[in-house]
Every structure is written in structure tokens, then in C-alpha cells.
Symmetry: C2
Subunit: 235 residues, 2 copies
């Protein structure tokens, strides 16, 4: 195994609807003195993807009813509700607070929604990065969520392109030569978490570049990380 | 923000009860051509901690009743049960399959249990690494668990020393100058996930060294990542 390095990609300007995000990212990577290489993973906070795609809604400041309406518009199923906290299943099948509607790091009076199809967004970024730089990269688009049973939030993969989201070790032998029973690693989520370590919540670092990682190649999607209702013990 | 590098630490021999784990780790780090430095994070799979601490139980191969008895001995509360799958809350408060009792990567006829107090184990390792190398490091002890709602497993922190487990951004302004409402990042879990990227499940890489990471200093514990029953919507 090689060492894996996670580079913060700073200097991306405030993103606006219609911006060419791949161009902004490729430019910032270059300005950071890095060069996008085959096999790199670009990890991108969904917030700038949502902004570029115009997934922004206006809410009069303090208008909780208007916000709730927008949240419900993004919600396929309410999973839990207590006080002001709403845990929802989004139309993609993701389970998170407020169905991913978020008012941090956007202009006052606006919220961002999750991209309509973050896997498609990831594929688009990958294709454009290839066109701009010549390099074949994997792309992981992330959001920051709380978890059941545990305090604190971590980054999760909501869009994936150029790699598999799951690294399946089932059927491989462990180091005693026995077959491992259930070990399918959600590598896209681990990549998302790893990238968060250099992003910093309040800072303008919406992108990280990961180099040296041996990831499973293939046409993966973050949607494959969503557990189907039948096998979900926590619906 | 600096780049963060994750080094796999190979060459640690099969660990046996009573082994001096800090010495084995420090030796392997040195043999890898790295030198433990102040501010490094050593991430250690709990499996070798459990083995060194003698947290191993014998089970006649295929004796499911004997295994269930051992699992129940580690269980504070059964969270869900379906078929052969038992999701349990351990005595530490962690929620995971089989209360952390695991038969992968151990000798046939044995299973490993989680350390009795993984935070204490982490503190012990940190102290011994300091004694052996002079360097002040943070230590994160990990296990690999499934999650609610999502397919695949990721690494989680079960023991922490020399750093805080949570990076609390609450009360800090976002980049539009507004106060962020709820953003407390479970950085110890993100570190655990990041380290798994170089560990590989079937390979003998039970330790990773992370360099360049700006982590919150303090006397943290992984136990502080356990959500209290009152705020837990998914008990």
C-alpha cells in the first residue's frame, strides 16, 4: 500500500448559478501548484455543485414555515421529528436532517437544496475535468450529516463517478486464509470523511484532491450506498 | 490548511496476549522509514489492541450457541435482531453488530472482544509511544461497523487519546459571517475512516500514521461520541 495524500484546494471563488464548476476547480487545483493526474480523486462539497446548478431557494429570514415547505418538497418520507429537528429521507433515498436543505455558507435569505441527481453531477464533473486537463479522475460529491447513535457529524458521499462506491471484500480470504463473511467497505463515504479533514467547515475549502489511493474502478454511484427498505432495520 | 498524509504501517507481526503493542508499533513505524513526530496521529485497529490485552475467547468452530453467549456477555442492550444478525449496544455504549465480537483475522476457534476500556487503551499507547520515541501523538483506536440506512461498513473511533473526538464549530461564523447552528464534526470518526483507506481488510496493515492534520488538542475520549438516550431518536 502506498501513502495517501489529501490536498486542500483553496481559492475557489463564490460559485453562482450557471458557473462552469469544472473549470473553477481545475483552475484552483492548478493555482495550488498541483496538476490533476490520472487516478486522483476530486472530492467536492455538494454546496458548490448545488449553487452552480441553481439549486437555491429564497426564504425570508426567520420564516420557518417557508423553510419547512421547502424541506417537505425535498422529502420522500419523514423518518423522525422532534421539536425543530426533522430527519427526512430525500427523494434520492438519503436520510439526513431537513432533507439536505441548508442555510449555512449561503447568502442571507437563501438556502441550498441537494443536487437533483448528484451521481449525474459527479459524472458531469468527471467528464469536464477530463476534457480540461486530460486526466481521468474519480469524483465524490459530499454532504455533512449526523448519524444514528453517535454525536457529531461526518461527511458522506452523495454523488460518485469514475469508481465504485463500495469496496467489496466478500469472498476474499482474511490473513488466516478464512473467507470473510460480511465486509463490504463504503469507500466513497470514507473518502468523503477523509476529505473533510482538510476542508474545515467555516473556511473556503470546498474541494480536496486525494492522491495515491487505490480505489475500486468501475461505473459506481452513491445511490448504491442507499439501503433498500427490506434490509433496513432502522426505518 | 496543509496537506494531510496517511501512511500505512506494515510489518507488525501477529500480536499475542501480553505483547508490548507500543513497542511493536514504534518499531514498525521506524522500519517503514518514518519517524514518529509530535502531532502525528497513530490509528490502530482495535483487533491488535484486543489481542495484546488478551480479549480473546475460544469458540468451538461452528458452535453458534457458544458465540451467542459470548456476544450476550458483551451486550448491554439488544438494539435489533433479525435472523442471524444481532445489532447490540455494548457496555461502552457503542452500537454495532454482535457487540463487537468478531471472528475475522483471528485464529480458527477464537474470537476477539472489544477492549474493556478503549479510551484507556489509547491513553496507554500514547504514553508508551511518548516514552519510546519522545513524540507526543494522538491515538485513535478503531473498529469497522455497518450503519443505519446505508450499505457498507466504515471505520469508527472506539478509543481516543491526545486529542478531542469532536471538533466543535458551534458558535463560529460561516464564511458569510453568520453563526453556524449545528456543526460539531466527529473528527475522530473521520480519522478512523481516513486510515481505513490504507489499511485494507485482508492485509496485515493494522496501523496507519497520519501526518499534517490540525486536530483539536485536549483530553478527549471516544466515549463522548456516544449519544445519550434522551437525544437518541433511533433507540
Amino acid at each position: 500500500m502506498e501513502a495517501v495524500t489529501i490536498y486542500p484546494v483553496e481559492g475557489i471563488p463564490e460559485v453562482r448559478p450557471g458557473d462552469d464548476l469544472a473549470k473553477l476547480i481545475a483552475g484552483a487545483v492548478e493555482a495550488a501548484g498541483l496538476e490533476v493526474q490520472d487516478g486522483d480523486v476530486l472530492v467536492v462539497t455538494h454546496k458548490i455543485v448545488s449553487k452552480a446548478e441553481g439549486r437555491i431557494a429564497k426564504i425570508p429570514p426567520g420564516d420557518d414555515d417557508a423553510k419547512l415547505q421547502i424541506v417537505m418538497g425535498e422529502t420522500a418520507r419523514v423518518v423522525r421529528q422532534r421539536g425543530g429537528l426533522l430527519i427526512a429521507e430525500t427523494k434520492h433515498g438519503f436520510v439526513c436532517a431537513n432533507a439536505g436543505v441548508d442555510s449555512s455558507n449561503v447568502e442571507e435569505g437563501t438556502v441550498t437544496l441537494l443536487p437533483v441527481d448528484p451521481d449525474r453531477s459527479a459524472r458531469g464533473l468527471r467528464k469536464q475535468i477530463k476534457r480540461l486537463t486530460g486526466a481521468s479522475v474519480a469524483v465524490v460529491i459530499t454532504d455533512t450529516w449526523g448519524r444514528a447513535w453517535r454525536i457529531g457529524q461526518t461527511n458522506f458521499a452523495i454523488g460518485v463517478a469514475g469508481m465504485l462506491a463500495l469496496n467489496d471484500h466478500r469472498g476474499k480470504p482474511d490473513h488466516f486464509g478464512r473467507i470473510m463473511s460480511v465486509t463490504s467497505i463504503a469507500i466513497a463515504d470514507e473518502i468523503a470523511s477523509a476529505a473533510e479533514l482538510v476542508m474545515g467547515k467555516s473556511e473556503r475549502i470546498p474541494v480536496a484532491l486525494i492522491r495515491g489511493l487505490q480505489y475500486p474502478e468501475g461505473k459506481g454511484r452513491a445511490r448504491s450506498l442507499v439501503r433498500d427498505p427490506q434490509s433496513d432495520l432502522f426505518r
